[in-house]
Amino acid sequence: MIQTIDISSYSAITDAIRSEARRILSDSTVSAVIGYTAGRRVGTTQPIVITTADEADKLLFSAGCLNDLVVYLTKAKKDVPKSGRIGIVVKGCDLKALVGLLGESQLKRENLYLIGIPCSGVLGSLLKPSAELTSETIASKCCECTDQLPLGCDFIPAVTPAPLPDLEKRYATEIARLEAMTPSERWEFWKEQFSKCIKCYACRQVCPFCFCEQCLCDRNRPQMVEQTPRPSGNTAWHLVRAMHLAGRCAGCGECERVCPMDIPLNLLNRKMAKELKELFNSEAGFEVRDTGPLTSYREDDDQSFIR
């Protein structure tokens, strides 16, 4: 049964973001605010960087605000002004990525002004942008969300998000389905998925954690991963990426959303997150961590797989 998701609070949130952005820009608390603005097509939004209080009314929050804006704070985005303190609109999932970047020395908390969103969910895709937010159209990450209310922000609109209805945990279901397969069935599944890849690197470019200036996969001495968009190089690329994100990925799901070839990339990341939680009791959250599960160890870590 398709359920409608209650997003009636989004207009109040939009108002609150605007007035807060106006305030922090006019009193020079921040030099810029990164937020969402309306796109030309109905129901779409796009990221915007505003630097004056007059522009505050361009900001909004809606079910079409899919992007994880945190990517704009990383070194991969040199062109976003980074002088002074920057205001940024973050959903709970986005904030976890931001917290991860704080732990990896990519950002300094004092240089940020966080405007948190009490989020009721966003759409999974903007291919059909005017869709209503329902249990069908909602993003998969929202179905498993436990962080509707971001913690530790400088400002949060005084709105309590309506609790999400009981939604099917799509990733958990899909991971369980794949886990139940034989290895060769799983290989066939992923082979088909990876063969679709055209190496547009949208997954990498939107990922807050892909902040490397020199991606391993762009290197040719040595060529660790084949650069060409052929099934072999594609598989290596997605495995390397999953491995590099293991223990870091905060689950914003942007890689999967932006993939023009519909590859379920977040499935890999969710699977790794699940395993690292089980193995090392480590998961992304709102607390800044000095080390991740793969940059630390315990002497009594599991080694049942080692002879």
Binding site: V225, L239, M243, L268
Partner: protein, 166 residues
């Protein structure tokens, strides 16, 4: 010790990634002790298991490895204090990833072999070789290397039909 000299139809390619201080030395000991084991294994020496990047394993599979061994110092014995602890976590995670994309984990063995364990080296290598030999060739990655997008390929199955018609 004499290895049975029967000839097999399939001889797997086994690649071993080992640390220089423990497992490489353990393999040396197996040699000085004149122990015998299958000749399928090719050893790559690293300073420490901490240096072994999962990408190398992918690369080895793409290059035609049928089985892979990663071996280093026992916990607490690392020449570099903790390299093997980091490796242990890294590979605990990586093998889960490989499993998830459909690699049969029987093809990858992790072990601790100390400089004194020449015998264990022989056992580990022999067991892995025999196990992989029974499993047959690792075709998945090799097949991938031959795969193409439809538009770029000249040897796709559908094109073969076209050529035959021509």
């Amino acid at each position: 010790m004499h290895v049975d000299k029967q000839k097999h139809t399939f001889e797997p390619k086994i690649i071993a990634f080992v640390c220089t201080w423990c497992t490489y030395a353990g393999a040396d000991l197996a040699g000085t002790s004149r122990m015998q084991y299958p000749s399928n294994v090719r050893v790559l020496k690293f300073p420490c298991t901490g240096r072994i990047d999962p990408v190398f394993i992918l690369k080895a599979f793409q290059q035609g490895a049928d089985g892979i061994l990663v071996s280093g110092c026992h916990p607490g014995d690392c020449h570099y204090i903790a390299g093997n602890y980091h490796a242990r976590r890294r590979f605990a995670a990586f093998r889960k990833l490989l499993e998830f994309i459909g690699v049969d984990l029987n093809r990858i063995q992790f072990s601790w072999v100390s400089a004194a364990e020449g015998g264990k080296w022989v056992e580990v290598v022999t067991d892995l070789t025999e196990k992989v030999r029974a499993m047959g060739p690792m075709v998945e990655f090799k097949d991938l290397v031959l795969e193409e997008q439809w538009s770029g390929g000249l040897n796709n199955p559908e094109l073969q039909a076209v050529y035959e018609a021509m």
